[in-house]
Amino acid sequence: MPRYFGPRRALFGLYQAAAAPRRAVLLCPPLGQEMIRSHRIYRLLAQALAERGHAVLRFDYRGTGDSADAGEGLSWNACLADVREAAAELRSASGLDAVTAFGTRLGANIAMDAVDTAQLVGVVAWDPVLDGGQFLATMDALQAHLLVDTSRFLRPRRDVDPHAEWVGFAPGDRLRAQLGDVRWRPGSALSLLIDSAPREPRAGHAIQQPPPRTLRIERPTSWHDLDAQEDVILAHGVVEAVTAHFQEGRA
């Protein structure tokens, strides 16, 4: 059921119940256009998990999707607080105390950073952002190309600050500064890493201790392809991998 919850009822979420839920799974979305592009796969994942007896909550951070506020006010700390609120909502709705999170791109980084505050028992991460500074540089470059893309605009948009937005979303100065400090630091809560990113070093190589399980999807996901920025993400194998992971009884 769709609902607003949390302080000021500012967070939008969609809860999918199970009769006697085996596990509670919180789906943490990525940010910006990656969130809109991955909506379909989040819906498919939520359905697949609910059909297998798991209670699932999808939600939007404040300033994104259907949640309250404008995107310019988004901050990393607010996203962490939203994960905590969403986990509490999921506990309340499902009656389960143990919550596992699934996150994509920055959603994976946010979930991993929120493990302690949201008391998550596990994290499944899909293509986390390894280096926030590099991510910002990539998004800025994408935006700079977009502004002069004459297949999109009749005339190049030199009237727009290329650093003010990333493909349709204005991150704001605070979030930009915070993202510059983001590094992928997988902790012991990481239970599955799904790697389909073609252009960055594989996430498993960037850490000292490999996570318990890493699944490499050879067909790359086009996160940074300018021509694909309005295409739905259809990563074959991700839904199956995550549902199988939970069916095996892993956190």
Partner: protein
């Protein structure tokens, strides 16, 4: 923010967000349809900003997902897509009536949403206004003249000769579709618009620079539809700087301002 989330519809299969103003005073409710396959938030969250701004202006709104899109399911009935859309929008009107007591509606649609809004406005008695974002229009001699004049001015002679050669070479081949949404014949659309205006509907057409494959000047609407363009129920805006999906925040803000100003003028709160 005064938004509520709903699962609604004849099969309880639709998901939408109703926004109600603090002091509802508007005579119409506004319903925003999906743009292509994008969920109800709209491309780059366009529909969220737009509906919240309209709420602040006093208009109740609903952004929702049509059957099979976004978070909505399907009702399982053997309907055509057009029948399904008509039933979905009727369900959406009932929901917004229950939330705001509005019984007359303005539909807003971008791209395929504009095509769906057109189909609804043809027949549904509760539709009193439509905002068509990159909706139906047709290439005219004026379109082609402007199109080639721009190419002449901007393109080197060698590239121009190559382009002409390629055009001649392709002349006998099948043509690519002009627009992803299928366009009915111009005469049919003109007859529909005439009928809508005869019933007193208010129509706003906004064409972006992203529609330059079939629309490239504000006066083209008149070239397409003749005297209909002068009807007091018609307003046309050519937003040449913007792209088709309003990727830039300043363009989304400008579009929101255009729609809000038109609503205030045609359906004052």
């Amino acid at each position: 923010m005064n938004e509520t989330a709903h699962r609604f519809g004849r099969a309880h299969h639709l998901v939408g967000i109703a926004g109600t103003p603090a002091t509802p005073a508007a005579p119409v409710g506004v319903i925003v349809l999906n743009a292509g396959l994008v969920q109800r938030v709209g491309p780059f969250r366009l529909h969220v900003g737009l509906t919240r701004h309209l709420n602040a202006c006093g208009y109740p709104t609903l952004r929702f997902d049509l059957s099979g899109l976004g978070d909505s399911g399907v009702d399982g009935s053997p309907r055509t897509r057009q029948e399904q859309v008509a039933a979905d929008v009727t369900d959406a009107m009932q929901l917004l009536t229950s939330q705001s007591r509005c019984t007359r509606f303005v539909l807003i649609g971008l791209c395929s949403g504009a095509a769906h809004a057109h189909a609804m406005a043809r027949t549904h008695p509760q539709v009193v206004g439509v905002v068509f974002l990159d909706g139906y229009a047709y290439r005219t001699p004026g379109f082609w003249m402007r199109h080639y004049l721009r190419k002449l001015v901007r393109t080197s002679p060698i590239r121009l000769l190559k382009a002409l050669f390629n055009r001649v070479r392709r002349a006998g081949q099948a043509h690519d579709p002009v627009f992803e949404v299928g366009f009915p014949p111009r005469a049919e659309v003109a007859a529909d618009l005439k009928d809508m205006l005869g019933r007193g509907l208010q129509l706003l057409f906004v064409f972006s620079g992203g529609a330059s494959g079939y629309f490239n000047h504000a006066r083209q609407f008149r070239e397409c539809f003749g005297a209909l363009a002068c009807d007091p129920g018609v307003a046309v805006h050519y937003f040449v700087a913007a792209d088709h999906t309003y990727v830039l925040g300043k363009d989304r803000a400008a579009l929101t301002g255009i729609v809000a100003a038109w609503l205030r003028g045609r359906f004052p709160a």
